[in-house]
Assembly symmetry: C2
Homo-oligomer: 177 residues x 2
Amino acid sequence: MSKKRDLVLFIASSLDGYIATKDESLEWLFNIEGEGDNGFSEFYDTIDTILMGKRTYDWILNQDLKEFPYKNKECYVFTSSFAENTEDVKFVNGDLTNFIDKLKRQNGKNIWIVGGGELLHSFIKEKLVDELIISIAPTLLGKGISLFKEGDYQLNLSLKQMRNFNQFVELHYEVKK
Amino acid sequence: MSKKRDLVLFIASSLDGYIATKDESLEWLFNIEGEGDNGFSEFYDTIDTILMGKRTYDWILNQDLKEFPYKNKECYVFTSSFAENTEDVKFVNGDLTNFIDKLKRQNGKNIWIVGGGELLHSFIKEKLVDELIISIAPTLLGKGISLFKEGDYQLNLSLKQMRNFNQFVELHYEVKK
């Protein structure tokens, strides 16, 4: 029997916990000296499925990219309204926990939850996230869009690995169940 | 000429940036497996002066300790109202920046700013902090008292060291000026 797939948050954050400025810009992040792609392609090889919220999906479409960046992965976009599937993504609404339970029981590599915000908040509250890989940028942003929202939950983690890519510190935790 | 003294924040925080629960409890922190004193006594030897806000001072007094824990250091408590100096601490009010500039020009070891909250916020905004040493606990608390308050500032940092004490990750940054 194959190991159950893990649902992993992989994201960069400022030291004070912001993933973007209030206007959803990542410019502050791109100017910091890292190393290679700061572990992204290594991580990307460990997953075959991607989850994101509608807002993150719209943000990606607005970036004026030549093509959708996650073409070779199974990509699900969570939305509360109806939307037609595209060549690149499937839209999902309805019971989150049920959907994720089914997904985790399928064979495959790990599952990446992209981005913070509302979707991540639901996942954290429902204890659906198995691992966190957070790249901490050497910046205090002062304000912006928070990685973690305030809520009535507490998760105990277990440190799996720490390393740095030049100025970025990557912390890798497992969520204790 | 001796090196100018640095003002250092040394503190533990949850991964989501809280230093205590809403009721100012640190119980969640004491149950986590660290190593020795997680670098505290090593750090404590590098400082001879301590700064804290009145609220932190009152919190310490309420802990029912046998004696004031920082007896062998020069200890300043910042307050907006008048208070009589004690055997253990001197109270300070008035212009923060001016006071800190004078303090940094005196000979001595580094200066520790204890705690987060209002005092730290003023120090960060005025760019008075030279180094940050943050011990990240393997916990998402969900809510509590934030280490960093939201504000109109951005600080660029430089990673000086990273290490772990069992489950605690200590990140050591210099503030770029």
